[in-house]
Symmetry: C2
Subunit: 270 residues, 2 copies
Amino acid sequence: MTRNTIGVFDSGFGGLTVLRALLPLFPGSHFLYLGDTARLPYGAKSQATIARYAVESARFLEDKGCQRLVIACNTATALALPDIRDNVGVPVTGVILPGAQAARAAATGEDILVLATDATVSSHAYRDNAASLGLRAHEKACPLLVPLVEEGWIEHPVLYDVLRIYLREALHEMAEQGRVPSAVLLGCTHYPLIADPIRRVLRELDCPATVVDSAEATAAEVAAAAGPQSSLHAATFECFATDSVQKFARLGSLFLQRPIHSVNLLDLGG
Amino acid sequence: MTRNTIGVFDSGFGGLTVLRALLPLFPGSHFLYLGDTARLPYGAKSQATIARYAVESARFLEDKGCQRLVIACNTATALALPDIRDNVGVPVTGVILPGAQAARAAATGEDILVLATDATVSSHAYRDNAASLGLRAHEKACPLLVPLVEEGWIEHPVLYDVLRIYLREALHEMAEQGRVPSAVLLGCTHYPLIADPIRRVLRELDCPATVVDSAEATAAEVAAAAGPQSSLHAATFECFATDSVQKFARLGSLFLQRPIHSVNLLDLGG
């Protein structure tokens, strides 16, 4: 019997937080993780360019034998999920709808706050997915959080200062419309690394919202779609990156919370 | 008589600080600025890829009639200046050697401190150019400064906190080797926007170093090479970007310190 093989794709290493959430749910399975690091960030690029990159990456993973794909990248999910589904023959799960569904389950009212990058906020993909579930999402762009996480300042006083500024602004913007969020959705694959500081600052600001991690929500959704898994063996993984293999191994280990010993360099062109 | 036309190239809009320094030195001239925003940042890419991108951009500017090119990008200068010179027929000035020369003129001893991005520090281009002038450069990577400038937090308390951390670390690293910098070189085209905060924090830390701006040094070098300019008319410019025209106009106006009314969208491919 061949092993269950699942492909996980991101523009960089942030999606490793999704892989981290997937591994314990898929005993015996093998994961291929592809970070398109040579062409990141996708955020500032046009929809056509992002779709082309994402489809190339998805096809690579399908060609390598993946029976299921996870798009662990908010920008690619927001702008290219239909293109990816049109171009591969295996089931594809994106990161946005599962996150919105988990926020729906956690929220006690209809108002939620979504923290994300500029590009994801501009796409309004979370707002639209949340609306389809009866939620009103206030989207807050937090452009400094990714660089702070990549600098490794995930427990640093500067991170707390920046979080206080962003979260105070977001809660104030909502309060002006008479809204209070009962759930805060982490709409970027880098943010699970700072979920605890986010929780602490929300408490400081007297906001009792539940923090929802879209990486964990996506992993749970993929596990539900794949059905029961059982094996005596732990899941295994291998990593591919299109550039910057050293940085991938160093930062990737932080995101995955286990050592990444080797990364395969891959040329997708362009 | 045809007007003097000069091309300025960067991976993004940081090089607009070099254009800002050039404009008053070239009355009557016309500038073409190209920001390869679709493919930024160059920092994490391989030398071969960066050289290909930079040569394509330089050729575009030469084809548009530029009689002189300025590479207003530290990464492209560090990794692709010889390739660019081999592939165009007009004089090319990079941003690193003029910066090092200005630091040489400002320094009272042989020790200088260079602040730059991760990619520029890893290339050691400033260290090598400084060494050729008899200077010992300590290179300090400051990865959060570009995102802070792009967030517009150029007078923000968080910027000051981050500067205190980076500059205290850098001065401490030098002090451990018995070294004190007499000049601090801004080795990134984003940093001229925060030259004053950098000066203030250096004073706070009792460091009497002169702050040297490689954008101004590069502009002065180009003016010296071009010879005397005289005209009753102010210099003019037009901008080209390979993606994200709105962001270019918005952020670019901050860097250029004058409004950018229109940006031409350009497709250089993949």
